[in-house]
Amino acid sequence: MTGKNTKQKPKGTKKGGRDKKKRHGPRLPSAVRKELEHLNADPNLEQSELEKDEFGEDVYEYDEETPEEETRKNRRYDSVDNYEYELPKEFEDEDVPSEDEELDSEPSEKSDDDQENSRHPRMLEDITGLPSMAFDGQQKKQIVVTDFQGDLNGKKISIHDLLDPLQQEPGYKNLRKKLHKIETKPMTVQVPLPKEEREKLERKVAYYHTRKDMTKWEPLVKRNREAPTLHFDADVNLGFSTVGSIASEFEPRTEFEKKMALLVHDPEIVDAYNKDGVRLLELNKINIEDVKEHQHRLAKMRSLLFNHEMKSKRIKKIKSKTYHRILKKERLKAASAMEMDPEVAKENARKQEFKRAEERMTLKHKNRSKWAQRILKRGLDIQDEGTRSAITEQLHQHALLTRKMNSIEDNSDDDDNSTDDNDNDDSDELLSEKGKKNVSKLLNKAKESTLKALEDASELPKSGVFALPFMERGLKKQQDAVEEEARMALDEYDASLRQHEKGHDIKNPKSAKVSGRKVFGPLKDKLQKPHKRRNTFNDDHNSDSEGGSDTIDRADVDEEVNNPAQNANLGPASDDDSENVTHSIFKSFDDIVKEPGPKTTFEVAIFASDCWKKINGENVVDAGSTKAAAIQNSQMLMHLPEPEDMDQDSDGDSEEKMVDGFLSSSPKRDYELPSQADLIHQAFAGDDVEAEFEKYKLEHLNEECPEPEKPELIPGWGQWTDIQQKRGMPSWMINEHKNAKRKREEALKKRKDASLKNVIISENVDKKAEKLLAKTLPFPYTSEEVYEQSIRMPIGPDFNPAITAGTLNRPTVVKKPGVIIKPIQYEEVDPNDDPDQPRRIVQKPKAQPKANKDNSARGKLKKMASTKKKIKP
């Protein structure tokens, strides 16, 4: 506040001065004016330089100006006249109120001043004829100046000089730091963006928001457009009687009912019910919509998480080191670029401006959201810490974004300052002697905070996205890591504390200086190493044992494998072989003949007839054995070919033959039907139907696709001499004929019956039936195939079951007569909705749209509140 006033005041006085100059201008001689200008020039410069300092920048200005007034002491002008003539109401009005305040403060200050200063305004008043108020500003400033004028010995005063006497004061440190900062890093105020640009940004914001408003409608419109049918229904909600409403009208009549009612309405029971039962019941109630909404929200969150995960996974998967380096660099750059690059700064400013414009437009952070309003409505003090802090954070954001441009930088600077301060404090305290106690305090504090954090961390969130199993797992993992670190940190704190206590007088800057990480490193390693070692040991052990067992197993297996193999190779095989050999050796042909067993198998084999080879093989073996076998074989061979012959016979006739007069299958050798067929064929042979039909077809073709006339010359044409006759027909005629012939042949080839021998299919176009065909492809279709496929299904009730015939033939808009179609109303579109469901749009009556809306809105709010309640516990 004071700063602002000080800034304003010189302005006012200046104005007054300028006015004065204007008014008195013509009366001042040019020499004096020059002098004035000359005098004014320097202090102005100084002023502009010193304006950054908050102290006494105006001092010199007004100090220099006094001589200007003093020049008037020379009484060159008629002061009285001036006074009467010049004093305008406006002038007074402008200055008086502010002056009054200062006049009030003046006397107290004046008392501190020298005699000279108190006399000086009066003198001025006398000389110039102006009221003393005109000089008030300078005088006020002069107060400060005079205070130090005594110490001034020709050299300039620096701020450090001014600060020195304040060294013992409590706020000194802060002041000094600020000053230091100002000296090292001169603060620059960002130049506000030009008006055009600002307006452009505003327009951009406006456009962005309107676009958002419009896009909000998109899914709704899309859904309506895509819906196969839209139903516009009148609002016919008559309110239906529920079980509850019916029950409420119940009045006990009989004795029993009355007794029951007495019991039910017993105040004690009611009280108990209200206290406990209602709440229980309320908890039991779950709205389907709420559950659905909850599920959708969960699904959305899940998908978002999944997407994020996939993205990070993908980025993580990229092996390129350069890519990661660049990514990291960019991130760093983005962080540091703020101060470095003017362009980036400008970009930042633009962004900030955009945000500010948006904030002004939407007042997003001014407790206007439903959430904030609801919280405020319920009272802030009921809320828990988190919500309250969130609300304050929001308000802070709003304040930040809507504050005037110039003050943007300050805030951030303040923040920086504070953090810096802390750091500096720490270092200072560490450096100072009495800071030693603080070290232990600090360590204790840190210990406490870590313990607290550990406790906090152990509580896992039980709802929301973090309750999802994979999130839970991740969190747990993270927590474990954090806990470990915290534990180590605790150990570290303890150790350092002990050390600190031990070597209280021995300063060990190194140990104090060493940052946590450096200390943790080896510790962690040590901690981890044994574990690792154990692991490796385990692994080794495992591997060893496994390896051992493996090897043993393997050996066993090998042995086993080998053994059976050997066994198999050697034992049984040798046995078998030997047996086989012995068998083969000892089996004599006579035995085979004599033995009944093999013989039977032999016969079976014959009948099964799939063991032909076997038989052959044995035949080979048995070849010269006994005559009986040979005879048998020959008999068998004799029998076998017979069916083949039969097959051949039957193959000869491709046509099926029927029994019983109609059919001539299973013919016997002496059956005479084929000859009958021949007879029939012979009977109709005279007709030669086929040739006739060929002729007929040719005629038909000629009729439909006439053969070109043979080129003939008009008799007498070109027969004047022998030479001309020799030339024959002109080539164009022959060509024409040829072309026509070729065309005809092509046309004939294209016919449907071209490949069908005994069929003529008429290609004549039925003109009457042509009106049943589409002349051109109907509009939305571009391909004939798709169009023809789309009309393949009949949609009439004769061809479709009753349950689908209706949907197949429903018009795009279904509306009862009398229902007025209202403009579209916004509603949330559920993305999980089935798009094929018929869309019903209820046209609410016009009479009480407002009340209706309010009701619905309230209902919604209530519902939301209730859902929150239900979900929270």
Binding site: F662, L663, E692, F693, N758, D766, A769, I791, N800
Partner: protein
């Protein structure tokens, strides 16, 4: 988890649903229009639902399934006699087989209504009768004392047409003569196209007549030019009429075409009968050349040829084929892959000459008209076991009948809708080049060709070949190329004109020319 049975049921439903989907949907991936894509996808979804619902209804709601004779061991189905079947069946089916001996007014033609409830029979010598087959109630019986060649029901049992000696007549159920259709002449065979309300007849002079019975207009009258025939059958799938001729040809006709749509050479001798399968893709023909042939009439190819003789054929609703020959009746059944094998046989008393075999709709019954009256035999699995009361209701009330008649009249199809491929209705007209296009058409064609040539986008070429001048030149060339054939056509026309002008004689001969008056 879905259990095996559920999976099985689902698979079966899928198979059934495919039938109702009537082919696959179009490949929507190729479509660029998103809106159309969305709409079509939605449609396809609905079609799928509809097909599924239909399949489910078919599976779960249709109460009964057809049954067949199942032989055990070496037993053959065709060896099973009617007596043994009748002994086993339930009482309602027990009543169905019968023999009606009407020896005087001999060989009888017969016809059932589409619902299978009523039967009209016409004796060659003028005996007409209508019987309610449900309760075997004779509704009307009368004598016209004239040769009766064929009988046919019109839209319902109220009217029937009779091909008599000189003309066909229309009677109502009371036997009152309603119309005499003199334009038809001495019709040999009658057919009624119920969706189109057309009565078709072929007369002695081989003329095919179509008459609209709702308006009385003769829709078409064509001379077949293939000789006298009494073989005519309507294809229930597309209402195309098939005629069998003496030269072994089978022709197919529609009322809006003076020439047959298809002419096939089916037999070497005269064709004795034709029958069409309900599905519309199978045709059976029999001829004097001792052959029975099955044809695929989608591609007009021969499927099977059997050496057997039959004078009359008829397909049942479930695709059984009845063959009548002299006094034998044989029934063949599809043994898979449209290969028909004998299923049943029935012997009439020797000397009975068959005149007509006709399956009764929605019943496992075959009606046989012969020279000694009527017979009906049981053929297990012949008829559709479940009737759709919207299509044909055997238990129709009077009101329902009237309602249905009105509906049928409203839904009457125009004669031009009869075509070989009725699914082609509504599709794009095939582009065909006219023999002699008019000037305007040529102009239009040329303009479209030029437009197409102008809209060609050229590849981006390098090395100075992508200059604007080069591109325009290329484009101009393309346009000229597109134009040229049309211009050539025009120039070709010129020489004729010149020839006409050149009639003027050379100077030397001019003096001989006759001076114009």
């Amino acid at each position: 988890m879905i259990s095996a049975t559920q999976q099985k049921i689902a698979d079966e439903l899928d198979v059934r649903a495919r039938k109702y989907l009537r082919g696959d949907g179009a490949n929507l991936e190729t479509l660029r229009d998103k809106k159309l894509k969305g709409q079509l996808a939605n449609r396809e979804k609905l079609y799928g639902q509809s097909a599924k619902a239909a399949a489910k209804a078919e599976k779960w709601l249709l109460p009964s399934e057809e049954g067949y004779l199942e032989p055990e061991g070496l037993e053959k189905t065709w060896m099973i006699k009617q007596e043994s079947i009748v002994r086993e069946v339930d009482i309602s089916s027990f009543r169905k087989p019968f023999d009606m001996i009407l020896p005087d007014l001999g060989p009888y033609k017969l016809e059932y209504t589409p619902s299978g409830r009523y039967m009209v029979m016409g004796g060659r010598k003028g005996h007409l009768a209508m019987i309610d087959m449900l309760n075997m109630n004779l509704i009307k019986e009368f004598q016209v004392r004239e040769t009766v060649r064929d009988v046919v029901f019109l839209q319902n049992e109220q009217f029937f047409a009779v091909a008599q000696k000189k003309y066909p007549y229309i009677y109502n159920w009371r036997g009152t003569e309603i119309h005499c259709l003199k334009e038809h002449g001495a019709a040999l065979k009658l057919q009624f196209l119920d969706k189109h309300f057309l009565l078709a007849s072929v007369n002695k002079s081989a003329q095919l007549h179509y008459q609209d019975v709702s308006t009385g207009v003769i829709v078409a009258n064509y001379r077949t030019g293939l000789g006298r025939t009494d073989v005519m059958q309507v294809n229930p799938y597309n209402a195309v009429i098939g005629l069998g001729h003496s030269a072994g040809k089978v022709t197919m006709w529609k009322p809006t075409s003076a020439k047959p749509l298809v002419t096939m050479l089916c037999h070497f001798g005269p064709v004795t009968d034709i029958a069409f399968h309900k599905g519309g893709h199978l045709m059976a023909t029999t001829g004097m050349d001792h052959k029975i042939k099955l044809w695929d009439i989608r591609k007009f190819g021969l499927l099977h040829s059997y050496t057997a003789h039959a004078q009359m054929l008829d397909f049942s609703q479930k695709g059984m084929l009845a063959l009548g020959n002299k006094s034998h009746v044989h029934i063949w059944r599809d043994s898979g892959n449209q290969d028909y094998k004998q299923y049943m046989s029935h012997e009439m008393v020797k000397g009975y000459q068959l005149a007509k075999v006709c399956f009764r709709p929605y019943e496992d019954v075959l009606g046989i008209g012969h020279s000694m009256g009527l017979s009906s035999i049981i053929v297990p699995g012949a008829g559709e076991p479940n009737f759709d009361s919207w299509v044909a209701n055997p238990y129709e009330t009077k009101k329902q009948r009237r309602e249905k008649e009105v509906h049928a009249l409203i839904d009457k199809l125009q004669p031009e809708t009869i075509m070989l491929e009725p699914t082609k209705i509504g599709t794009l007209k095939p582009r065909r080049t006219k023999a002699n296009p008019t000037k305007k058409e040529i102009q239009e064609e040329m303009e479209t060709a030029i437009d197409a040539a102008k809209n060609i986008t050229f590849k981006k070429k390098t090395k100075g070949r992508n200059k604007p001048s080069k591109r325009t030149k290329k484009k101009e060339e393309g346009v000229f190329k597109a134009k040229r054939p049309f211009l050539e056509q025009k120039t070709e026309e010129r020489p004729f004109k010149r020839q006409k002008e050149e009639v003027e004689l050379p100077k030397a001969l001019q003096r001989f020319s006759r001076k114009k008056a």
